[in-house]
């Protein structure tokens, strides 16, 4: 059981990272990664919606007929996104302004719908909540790293603090967003692929034995 939870957490956050491996939720990834802080804000909002919608979908999984599961999931997700908007507008209006159009767009974020459909509708409440948390954290990590990269190169800042005076305006543009995204996907694939290959080699390395029975 403990291993199952570990696997869910590892799969959601790293192995099947929704942004860098599955290439889901591309719209906010490209639009909001101009600064590292934006990635954290968006990541937190998506994590909250993911956990809540996964828990509710898991709770209602036996009650929702499969013919209407998608509209039901969208309604549930839209409810939580509206709640996030109301809370932000009341307590953090500046943050609400920064996230602007991309906050309501969480409703149609493929990551949330995909997790509801492929995981929460088939699993219990606790694993579903953990899956939501892991995927949300994975999304947040990817957005924050990309945001930090673009912020450092595009504005010479990190989390709003000046690092150097050298700037490349390209990284603040839409083309820079696509370039950064491609670079991070390539890096992720390279690093993850190398680690997986290493594990594979270790698992299948032949153990040569000497005639007297001792391992070489």
């Amino acid at each position: 059981m403990k291993n199952d939870y570990k696997k869910i957490a590892f799969d959601g956050a790293i192995k099947n990272n929704p942004t860098l491996k599955l290439v889901l939720g591309t719209c906010p990834t490209l639009a909001l990664t101009t600064a590292a802080m934006n990635g954290i804000y968006m990541g937190l909002a998506v994590t909250f919606v993911l956990i809540c919608s996964n828990v509710l979908v898991s709770l209602l999984r036996k009650a929702i007929p499969k013919e209407v599961r998608i509209p039901a999931f969208v309604l549930i997700i839209a409810t939580f996104v509206t709640i996030v908007r109301l809370i932000l507008d009341y307590f953090l209006p500046d943050l609400n302004d920064i996230m602007g159009l991309y906050l309501p767009l969480i409703v149609v974020n493929c990551i949330i719908l995909a997790r509801a459909e492929s995981f929460a509708s088939k699993n219990g409440i606790l694993p579903s909540a953990l899956d939501g948390l892991a995927n949300g954290v994975g999304f947040m990590i990817a957005l924050t790293l990309m945001g930090a990269f673009r912020e450092v190169l595009g504005r010479g800042e990190i989390f709003g603090f000046k690092v150097w005076n050298f700037t490349l305006d390209f990284f603040g543009t839409s083309a820079g967003a696509f370039f950064t995204y491609a670079l991070f996907i390539a890096l992720f694939s390279l690093i993850y692929g190398a680690i997986a290959d290493r594990k594979k080699d270790k698992a299948f390395s032949p153990v040569l034995k000497e005639p007297n029975g001792e391992a070489e």
Partner: protein
């Protein structure tokens, strides 16, 4: 009757209705609890402009229940919803500010842009000293316009009207680029100038 209850479509519609009613009820309650009143929004806008809370007197406020001040001032390409005079009671040497909430029409895809415009009055001089965005409709690129766009409006009111038409003559020009997203913002500021000139 039993047949109806066992029908899959009946189940589908019932479940969707139940989800809609529960979601709607929850959102209705939260909307009421987390309601942000127009007064609070005005305070937030003034904090954005001045960096601190300011006392103000109302000239026009469309959210007010007082009939004497709650009519907007309409123009052909925009309207003014709110006019406040800031710190008039602390006025020394004829210096005080007007703050306008103004909406410009005819933007990109017929959208509107609402701006807060601060006009500093110093004796006979009236100068637009700050412009910030309140909200917009249909013009998704507005969030991409940087401070440079709003800073182009910081001129004396007597300098005349702005235009977003690159061929416009005899007026101050604000052209942002490929789209016409500047038009509604320009119309919003022009409403303020029209009010002060008129």
């Amino acid at each position: 009757m039993r047949k109806l209850f066992n029908n899959i479509w009946f189940k589908c519609i019932s479940v969707l209705l139940a989800v809609i009613i529960c979601s709607g009820g929850l959102i209705a309650v939260l909307s009421d609890v987390l309601y942000v009143s127009p007064e609070v929004r005005t305070k937030r806008a003034l904090i954005k402009i001045y960096g601190e809370e300011k006392s103000y007197s109302v000239v026009i406020d469309t959210d007010s229940t007082d009939d004497a001040v709650n009519s907007p001032i309409e123009y052909e390409k925009g309207k003014i919803d709110k006019i406040y005079i800031i710190d008039k009671e602390n006025e020394t040497d004829g210096e005080y500010d007007f703050v306008f909430k103004s909406t410009g029409y005819e933007g990109y895809k017929s959208g509107n842009v609402t701006l807060w415009v601060k006009v500093s009055v110093n004796g006979g001089n009236r100068r637009i000293s700050k412009v910030i965005l309140e909200n917009y409709t249909k013009q998704t690129l507005m969030s991409k316009l940087g401070n440079g766009y709003y800073d182009t409006f910081l001129t004396d009111v007597t300098d005349g009207y702005f235009t977003a038409d690159k061929d416009g003559e005899g007026v101050k020009n604000v052209v942002t680029g490929a789209t016409k997203s500047a038009t509604a913002g320009v119309n919003a500021v022009n409403c303020v100038i029209a009010y002060l000139e008129g």
